[in-house]
């Protein structure tokens, strides 16, 4: 029974901005789904507020709405587009929750929209813990297996405290209902912890509900990915085993596919339970994942939870097996059955089977605790990682070591030199799960720990523990061997040792090891991920390396372009770079090249086997890339390697690749150096006569002090060669400068600290541009809402710039061209300027695709990354204009006056982190980037666009109620007009005494509230923090006070995060918000698709 004929159009809801627990994987799944639906001849309507996604590319859907994913906005889209059906299972928890809200509000009925892929009852049964327990109980009655952990549902703190007694005491697990990525859940070992975790959980849960559960800490943890079609055919796509036992969120665990330590009998029990659950819950069509805990002592199986939708694990399972879950879920949703869908990889067998693996997949999480130094780094049942790397090997050790080096983080690989440390101390350390615990375990093993001791400390399965011993024993052999024999080298490589690791152990340089290895003929082969363990021939070249015998890379004739991706998502390098890589692949394929993608991030569109002609799922280290280049060079001609689009990761390889004779195309490594090296870049600026803020470099405090004294405080200090403003800080006085230098571990003579004059009150401007050596194409000019000093990744910005005139654009264009030319760019360049007074300073230039490329491309309806890829391979701007890839006339600097205004807003992960005593982390923005994602608001005027960006990022701006204002002295002047506007819109103002006084003097009434430091008043007057906690404040404006007085602000801002009250921390944001509130008051905020925006823009251009 093929496709349903009663559905002509489908609304797909995306997952919005990248946040912890909901990341790029939903772009991957959503993109797959949209493509499938479109190819089935359906009209696809898409809503997603995240511009950095492939799914929001105008060609993926028929109507693309970059609008907030709130029930209000989605209803507007439904009213306008009148879709027949809504597919809510591919956009994570955000999409599912929005769909449920629309259902509950009667919106779907009102417009006759059918939910497909999941019904409301099934969603509730899967997500509501109480209902799910009943499901598991039903299953146990039917098949005799599976049970839930003993638990109690609680709706108040009283329930919670009683619940602990029912369960027999601490520790207990707290799990709030209906939150994503396990937000708000955790272990409570005593009443204090319980009150804190459960209190927050009750707040976070949209149904004010938490579940208390018996502790199954230390049990083995498994996950199954299942799919069901309308004929009740069910398949298990993948089994996943967690290296870290129960207690660590699966998103934060090292995970392994397939399951490694189950017999068939035990595995089949999980499978039977899983299938019975998907039936009992009633997931009609589509995928779900189910998590299990297994007691290592007796095999008792507990069902932990299920997600009745495509999830992060589905993306991992798809990449791990080659079975595209989202794509197939979309087909099932429109009526196909599994046996009617062909397996893409074999082409001749159907999708109604279960993939079997002849390799091992390891996923390792990437954390960003260095960005949140005060946050507690203990891993719990709340997800804290910001990204992940996946690696494939022919055995566990090979996959594990590849995964660890894919993380591309100092210390992520095992190290076998130096003193390991004290065994007891290391074992004690390993008890607490943290980022890098596996490295502590390895050091403990080096320090003499036995397998039993390791198991006792960590409860990591003995088989995995032995694999670590195997790695360690090989390291010992490498260290002790009189010489590197081919046998020993091959054996080490078979267990995943990198040339760099071997070099470290042998005291050799990495390139020397490589030379020896090549001379001895020890090179990897490339195997295919084929879903069937070679039972059938694979048609899809999806490769991984292994030190085995036979390679499967086929010869080819067309010239290949190898595109290096960006690796695991991290703060500062996320999905935006994947977007550019995918665009390059599409554009170069259209231009007649064979495209070869290299990446190790399972969440991405770039690692979809459909995206490029060939996919290498490999770490992005020099060694791994050189081997791929070698393998492809054996297969056919190579036109070049693209390093410019994947962010700092591939860019950092540029010079070394060139030194090894690899044809790097686009901006040459020397030009990259000219932009990144302070001295070289200074010369470029001087030649072009462009000013930069005064600066100097220092390796000691004395040097730094001299520079700072000369240029004057405040100064901006940062280590060199970092991404995302790592370690960057605005320093206001000498004392802090001294402590900064003392604390900074990364300063050395070869890595000096940079000291810049900090431009107070400057307007920061970002420019994305293309340069072909002759002609500049100004992609877009973005004006930051926050002042210079806030990292550009964390700052909101508007395009076209809202306060810059034609003269400014002209200056920006001239400066950009001079820099692009001076540096020697061939492709994209991103430059940050600061306009202070009337001087346009150059802050920095990055000769690569920037984070803002997707935003700029969408705002101006021009595919910049595609153009950049073509320029890299020799096309000129003029040719691309003639071809139609770039507009025939004008560019991003000459947008028509009625062009829509796009606002980008950053999304920050504050609510995810707590310090060790359980308090929130401070939310003040600074020069170090900490946002995980972004949204875009687009409309004809700035106010509405800004309001949309806020609604997309944090929830709608309030249009009435109480606004609390407390600003630093320097901000008091600029606060007056916006404050007056708030009053005019009917807000009641609250302020601390100082701010209230200024307001009153300006004729604005404000109620004085008590500071936190003043405590509760004599008549029980609440402090501002208490008011926020009690939900009596609707909008907070709180700007930090430089060095002093931060504490009160800290309490206010963390309370705002806990209660999800909009909190503006700069006066510029306040001014923008007031414009937004004004727009909302005038009503009539409507929605318009990107395609409609583009049509108008194109018409205006011609």
């Amino acid at each position: 029974m093929p496709k349903r004929t009663d559905i002509q159009s489908v609304l797909v809801i995306g997952s919005g901005p990248i946040v912890i627990g909901q990341a790029a994987e939903f772009d991957y799944s959503g993109t797959q789904a949209c493509r499938v639906l479109k190819s089935e001849g359906l009209r696809v309507i898409l809503v997603n507020s995240n511009p950095a996604t492939i799914m929001t590319d105008p060609e993926i859907a028929d109507a693309t709405y970059v609008e907030p994913i709130t029930p209000e906005f989605v209803e507007k889209i439904i009213a306008k587009e009148r879709p027949d059906a809504l597919l809510p299972t591919l956009g994570g928890q955000t999409a599912l929750n929005t769909a449920i809200s629309l259902h509950d509000a009667g919106t779907l009925d009102k417009y006759g929209v059918e939910l497909i892929g999941a019904n409301v009852e099934a969603i509730n049964k899967g997500e509501d813990r109480d209902l799910f327990k009943d499901v598991v109980e039903e299953v146990r009655k039917k098949i005799g297996h599976g049970e839930s952990a003993r638990s109690v549902i609680c709706h108040s703190m009283d329930d919670v405290l009683k619940g602990v007694e029912t369960l027999g005491g601490y520790p207990v697990v707290v799990r709030p209902s209906f939150t994503m990525g396990g937000a708000g859940s955790g272990f409570a070992h005593d009443e204090e912890e319980l009150r804190r975790i459960a209190g927050q959980g009750l707040t976070l849960s949209p149904t004010t509900e938490v579940l208390l559960e018996e502790s199954i800490l230390g049990w083995k943890e498994y996950e199954l990915e299942l799919m069901r079609d309308k004929n009740d055919n069910v398949v298990v796509v993948c089994s996943i085993e967690n290296f870290d036992p129960m207690g660590v969120h699966t998103g934060d665990s090292i995970t392994v596919a397939p399951a490694m330590t189950l017999t068939d009998r035990e595995y089949q029990v999980l499978r039977d339970v899983g299938i019975a659950i998907i039936r009992e819950v009633g997931v009609d069509t589509g995928g779900c994942n189910i998590q299990f805990a297994v007691n290592p002592a007796d095999g008792r199986v507990i069902v932990i939870e299920m997600n009745p939708r495509v999830s992060r694990s589905s993306a991992l399972a798809s990449k791990a097996t080659g079975f595209p879950i989202a794509k197939i879920a979309a087909k099932l949703a429109v009526g196909y059955t599994l046996d009617e869908i062909p397996n893409d990889i074999t082409e001749q067998t159907p999708a109604s089977f279960e993939p079997t693996l002849d390799y091992v997949v390891v996923k390792a999480p990437r954390f960003a605790f260095e960005k949140f130094p005060s946050a507690d780094s203990t891993l719990t049942t709340t997800m804290k990682s910001v990204g992940e790397a996946m690696a494939i090997g022919r055995n566990f050790t090979e996959a594990l070591q590849k995964a660890l080096r894919s993380l591309e983080k100092k210390g992520s690989q095992f190290t076998f030199t130096g003193e390991p440390g004290d065994k007891e101390e290391l074992l004690r350390e390993a008890v607490r799960p943290t980022d890098g615990r596996i490295n502590s375990v390895m050091q403990a093993i080096r320090a003499g720990a036995t397998p039993e001791e390791v198991f006792d400390a960590t409860k990591i399965d003995p088989w995995f523990v032995d694999q670590l011993f195997l790695v360690k024993e090989l390291a010992d052999e490498l260290a002790e061997a009189p010489e590197l024999t081919p046998e020993l080298l091959a054996e080490a490589k078979r267990h995943g040792f990198s040339d760099q690791q071997i070099g470290e152990i042998r005291g050799l340089r990495e390139d020397v090891v490589r030379e020896v290895r090549h001379a001895l003929g020890v090179r990897p082969v490339y195997k295919t991920v084929d879903t069937c363990a070679a039972e059938f021939a694979a048609r899809t070249p999806y490769f991984y390396s292994s030190y085995d015998e036979e390679t499967e890379v086929a010869p080819r004739e067309k010239p290949a372009v190898i595109i290096l991706g960006s690796g695991p998502n991290r703060i500062g390098q996320g999905i935006e770079f994947d977007y550019s890589c995918v665009h390059a692949s599409f554009a170069l394929s259209d231009a007649g090249y064979e495209t070869v993608m290299v990446n190790c991030n399972p969440e991405t569109v770039s690692t979809d086997y459909d995206t490029s002609d060939r996919l290498y799922f490999e770490p992005l280290t020099l060694e791994d890339v050189l081997e791929i280049v070698h393998a492809e060079a054996q297969a056919g001609p190579i036109a070049g390697v693209v390093v410019q689009l994947g962010g700092q990761t591939p860019l950092g390889l540029s010079q070394a690749l060139k030194d090894n004779g690899v044809p790097v195309v686009g901006t040459p490594p020397e030009a990259i150096h000219a932009a990144e090296d302070r001295g070289a870049f200074g010369r470029v600026l001087a030649e072009a006569g462009l000013p930069a803020p005064k600066h100097g470099t220092a390796t000691t405090f004395a040097e730094a002090k001299t520079i700072a004294d000369e240029i004057g405080y405040p100064v901006l200090v940062r280590p060199s060669y970092v991404l995302g403003g790592r370690g960057m800080e605005i320093v206001y006085d000498e004392a802090r400068l001294e402590s900064y230098i003392a604390e900074s571990t990364e300063i050395s003579p070869s890595r000096p600290v940079l000291v810049d004059r900090f431009l107070d009150d400057a307007i920061e401007i970002d420019v994305d541009a293309l340069y072909d050596g002759e002609e500049l194409y100004l992609g877009g000019v973005m004006e930051h809402i926050e002042e210079a000093g806030i990292h550009s990744g964390d700052s909101a910005c508007a395009l076209p710039p809202i306060t810059l005139g034609g003269f400014d654009i002209k200056r920006l264009r001239a400066s950009t061209e001079a820099i692009a030319k001076g540096v020697g760019v061939r492709g994209l360049i991103n430059i940050q300027f600061a306009l202070a007074g009337d001087i346009l300073y150059v802050l920095e230039a990055n000769p690569r695709a920037s984070r803002t490329v997707p935003f700029t491309s969408k705002a101006t309806a021009v595919p910049l990354a595609k153009a950049a890829a073509r320029i890299s391979l020799g096309a000129t701007v003029a040719e691309l204009r003639a071809e139609g890839l770039l507009p025939r006339n004008g560019d991003g600097g000459t947008l028509p006056l009625d062009a829509p205004i796009s606002v980008k807003e950053a999304v920050l992960p504050w609510s995810r982190f707590r310090d060790t005593s359980g308090r929130g982390v401070d939310t003040v923005l600074g020069p170090e980037m900490r946002s995980t994602g972004e949204v875009m608001g687009i409309d004809s005027v700035f106010g509405t666009a800004y309001a949309k960006s806020q609604a997309g990022a944090y929830g709608p701006l309030p249009t009435k109620g109480r606004a609390f204002i407390s600003v630093a002295n320097r901000d008091k002047r600029s606060m007056i007009f916006p404050a007056r506007e708030l009053v005019a819109h009917g807000f009641e103002l609250l302020a601390t005494s100082g701010t209230a006084e200024v307001l009153r003097r300006n004729g604005i009434n404000a109620t004085v509230v008590r500071k936190q430091s003043e405590g509760t008043g004599p008549n029980g007057e609440k402090t501002i923090v208490q008011l926020i906690h009690d939900g009596e404040v609707d909008l907070i404006v709180n700007t930090p006070y430089g060095t002093g007085g931060r504490l009160d602000g800290y309490e206010i801002r963390t309370a705002a995060v806990a209660r999800a009250v909009p909190c503006l921390t700069t006066v510029q944001a306040l001014a923008a918000a007031v414009q937004g509130i004004d727009a909302l008051h005038h009503g009539g905020v409507d929605v318009r698709s990107l395609q409609e925006h583009a049509e108008r823009l194109t018409a205006a251009r011609d």
């Binding site: 490694m260 017999t263 159907p350 003995p462 195997l470 090989l474 069937c532 036979e550």
Partner: protein, 385 residues
């Protein structure tokens, strides 16, 4: 925690070199695994990621050298509950990365030790995927594994492999059948009696019947029709087993006798091939067979797809799209493998008899096809009524 013998990387490397030699001359070099010595058989690959104990002890693997496509084997050691028969039957075992330390609350021994104790010659550390692809492209073929003193120069080894007997035309069920008849009692209330002809029966099969109230009388392959009916069975079962079904004349004749009497009949695997022959269809050797636990089979009577366990190198040649006239009335293909349209089940429309080519008892493998035992029970119920 339980750990047993802790090997080391160097000990593993200390295992003697081993050579795997295919009849077409392709050679893989690795290390000995299990027993050291030499062995010959038909090289086949199994794609199951779990269930090595069940695979090793499945009598259908008699005279076959099994290549595991899953790289890690032995991770859960060896326990006393999961074997499908009293011994390991595979002629040789090929794995990539054997476990050094098993981990399971049920394990008693390591797989390495178990293989050595039962004299099963194996090899580890070879590119099993390359070998699998070779067998896929060239078809199942004869193979030899040589380790220790058995290693000679390559040409000599190839010659020896080429001297080994072929699977086509091999009659092997007599070598694996039980010597004595035995009874597997019903679990709970006894409802039916079934005579099961053991052509290499797996332990889980009578167990699945016993779970349904069936007392199973397991008979040697040499049993006569009188032996079968001595227990007054409600139904007769023909098991799985090794070898070429074209050689199995005695069991075919036996089955024809049962069909004439109209006793409810169920066959699995070899039993399906026997039913095919009993009905007058031919059998043929597949290029490289179906061996794994992920095979999609469609039940053509319901349209539903089940994920099933397979282990067969031969198949029945019956028309897929029509009802056939046979000496026992009309017959049709009831099940088909969706990967390659191979006949996976037969049923008679005028008599209570059916069979499947795959393994509903599923050890190892998914339980999707367990309903077939219920169908057998229904046939017996209907016959009584």
């Amino acid at each position: 925690m339980t750990t047993s013998k802790q090997g080391t990387a160097s000990q593993r490397k200390g295992a003697p070199p081993a050579v795997l030699v295919l009849e077409d001359g392709r050679i893989f070099r690795g290390r000995a695994y299990g027993a050291v010595g030499e062995t010959f058989g038909e090289a086949v690959f199994s794609t199951g990621m779990t269930g090595y104990q069940e695979t090793l002890t499945d009598p259908s693997y008699r005279r076959q050298v099994v290549v595991m496509t899953a790289p890690h084997v032995g991770n859960t050691g060896v326990n006393d509950e999961d074997p499908e028969s009293k011994r390991i039957w595979v002629a040789g075992y090929v794995v990539r990365d054997p476990a050094r330390v098993p981990s399971s609350w049920r394990h008693r021994r390591t797989l390495d030790d178990e293989l050595a104790a039962q004299g099963v010659v194996g090899i580890s550390g070879i590119d099993t995927r390359a070998l699998t692809r070779h067998l896929r492209e060239r078809g199942a073929m004869r193979v030899g594994i040589f380790s220790g003193d058995a290693v000679r120069d390559d040409a000599a080894l190839v010659a020896r492999v080429q001297e080994a007997p072929e699977m086509k035309g091999a009659s092997l069920y007599e070598e694996v059948t039980t010597e004595e008849a035995y009874v597997v009692p019903a679990i709970g209330e006894k409802k039916f009696t079934v005579a099961a002809v053991d052509l290499g029966i797996k332990g889980m099969t009578p167990h699945r019947m016993a779970e349904r109230g069936i007392e199973v009388h397991v008979l040697p392959a040499t049993a006569t029709l009188d032996d079968i009916y001595a227990a007054s069975p409600d139904g007769v079962f023909f098991s799985n087993g090794p070898g070429d079904p074209a050689t199995a004349d005695h069991p075919v004749a036996l089955m024809q006798g049962v069909l004439e009497r109209g006793t409810p009949l169920f066959g699995i695997c070899f039993g399906n091939q026997l039913l095919g022959r009993a009905l007058g269809f031919g059998t043929y050797k597949l290029k490289y067979g179906h061996r794994g636990i992920n095979q999609p089979v469609q039940d053509r009577t319901t349209g539903k797809v089940e994920v099933t366990a397979h282990n067969h190198g031969f198949a029945v040649d019956a028309p897929l799209d029509k009802v056939s006239e046979t000496p026992f009335g009309r017959a049709e293909v009831s099940h088909v493998c969706l990967n390659d349209n191979v006949v996976e089940g037969l049923q008679l429309l005028d008599k209570p008899a059916f069979s499947v080519q795959y393994h509903p008892e599923a050890a190892a493998g998914p339980h999707d096809a367990a309903y077939l035992f219920d169908r057998f029970v229904s046939l017996m119920e209907d016959q009584r009524a």
